[in-house]
């Protein structure tokens, strides 16, 4: 019997404290055979579990081009994430996945990419960004716009610095007004506003965005103003999930199961969905 509820065992190899309430785990599969076979695409998610506490849904934040491990970033809010926060290097985390669809990477070849992230919403984008950077020659310009509510809430700080230094990426960072520090050298203002300032060209471009709902709403509006067609705008949705494979009935938006048909949608698809998310 194939038990679809049975998780793989993974072990925490590295813990990074991203912000006061966000942590990133680097997980390696216990079973070397699984580690070898395991494949996923940027944008997919998994069910991470801590045995005895429960399961929680996060995206896979590492790039599929970096084999042998997966990374997940989570914000400490509920029962499971509070238990995860207490774990140490070497502890076991259950993982089921990968589930859901993914970013249409092949369709993005030879296009300009604009990544717009906010807060912990950078996690799914990060997977795709590294995926694209590892295959850099396949894409044209890459622009990254990332913002958070304050400087301390920026995630993946080391990588942000790396992106900033790279010559083949246009990188903009911003914090919400009032969230800046004295040393802050980035922009100040909400992400949609900065997007208007940057004013990316819609020709031969794809915009990929993820962040808090309020930011996504603003970003979608800005992109529309900038003449991006809905098909050119890609985002990921998040709904409460339990099973991750279309059985438990929690993540339905209309006939769509976010866990199977999503979490990646373009704005055209999103417009088709009833307002139930």
């Amino acid at each position: 019997m194939i038990n679809i509820y049975k998780p793989y065992l993974t072990r925490i190899q590295e813990i990074k404290i991203e912000t006061p309430d966000t942590k990133t785990f680097k997980l390696r599969f216990d079973d070397s055979e699984v580690a070898e076979k395991f494949n996923f695409r940027a944008g997919q998610f998994g069910e991470y579990s801590i045995f005895g506490e429960g399961e929680s849904t996060f995206c896979i934040a590492s790039s599929p081009t970096r084999k042998g491990y997966i990374e997940c970033s989570f914000k400490i809010v509920g029962k499971v994430t509070n238990a995860l926060k207490k774990l140490d290097v070497g502890d076991v985390v259950g993982f089921r996945g990968p589930y859901g669809n993914s970013f249409p990477l092949e369709e993005m070849y030879d296009k300009n990419l604009i990544f717009i992230g906010g807060g912990i919403g950078l996690a799914p984008l990060r997977s795709l960004i590294w995926n694209c950077l590892d295959l850099r020659e396949k894409f044209k310009d890459i622009t990254i716009l990332y913002g958070a509510r304050s400087v301390s809430f920026l995630v993946y700080k080391d990588e942000l610095d790396e992106w900033e230094k790279r010559a083949d990426i246009k990188y903009y960072k911003t914090v919400d007004p009032g969230g800046e520090t004295k040393e802050w050298n980035g922009k100040i203002g909400f992400v949609p506003k900065i997007l208007d300032e940057i004013c990316p060209k819609p020709e031969n471009s794809v915009a990929i965005t993820c962040g808090p709902p309020i930011m996504i709403k603003g970003v979608l509006k800005s992109l529309e103003k900038l003449n991006f067609k809905p098909e050119q705008v890609i985002t990921t949705l998040e709904n409460r999930m339990k099973c991750g494979f279309g059985k438990c009935g929690r993540c339905n938006i209309g006939k769509t199961y976010v866990c199977i048909d999503g979490p990646v949608f373009n704005a055209a698809e999103l417009n088709q969905l009833p307002m139930d998310y």
């Binding site: 502890d91 099973c243 438990c248 307002m275």
Partner: protein, 345 residues
Amino acid sequence: MKNFKIKNDYKNFVKGLLSLNYLVIAPKYENGILKFSKIKNAAEILSPSEYINTVSSTKEYFFPQTEPVIKFTFEGKEIFLKDVEIGKKPKVVLGLRPCDAASFSILDDIFQYEYKDEFYFTRREKTIIIGAACESNDESCFCTTTGLAPDSSQGADLFIEKNNEEEYFLRAVTEKGERLVEQLIAEVEELEEEPKKNPLYEKIEKQIRKKIDLIEAKKWLDNNFENEKWEELSSQCLSCGSCAYLCPTCHCFDIVDEVNYNSGVRRKNWDACQFDLFTLHSSGHNPRDTKAKRYRQRVMHKFKYYADRFDKTLCTGCGRCIRACPVNIDIYEVVKEFAPLVEQN
């Protein structure tokens, strides 16, 4: 497919079944309610004429209220997983009404969509479903609306019916069913010709609530996600979830861990879309935060979403939710609000 006459009476037939080492599950009065329970001897059996329908549906024998999916033990930092065994004994579920039997052909779709839920299907494969035609109905029944009838054998492996001489006969619907009958040759006898229909079934079909045009209903639902009717239809709902727990086709569940010292278990437990905690995100955001939205989800899921994906209605017209609702929210009346009756000649 073949038809078989039951040689002696119904009870003897059950006796034969019991002797075949099957776990027989059939309607039985237990602690004051009629429900599907294990039958130990043939005397306990109710013949199809002795009941209308059970309080709870048969889904619990395939998708139980609570079901361990994985077990684990802790030893220091190490965790050992252990698979869950599920009942190996072959089962016969006997005496399901067409509305219950049909629920499996509906649930099969969702439980094997993309990912196959082996917990459900292992039980499904080991179980033979013997349906029984309805010999009476009550005011809540509306199976004709969902395309069923008192004598429709959809979803069953074998089907018990009365011929026009008031004798029970078995209709083999699937090969699985036929193979079972072959083992019961002492109790049954193959019929040469198709038995004559008992007029009773047509009579009952006419007594049942009039058929609603579900195609029209779906058309209305397609265009009325936003409609103030939802508020009105659900205003008295108490979010008690009785409807979902009794429904033969409701299949939402929760996954919960339980732990006891150094061992634990992960379980699937029933859940219902009428509960406000069902979709509550840990951030505090709730996509379905009002009763109107939750009730809309229930109706839409049953009559539109499921049809969009699987081309089936997620309702069999068993009427359990109507009987159980403490404030008399009647799904038949709700659908009738926006869809016409089918003209009958």
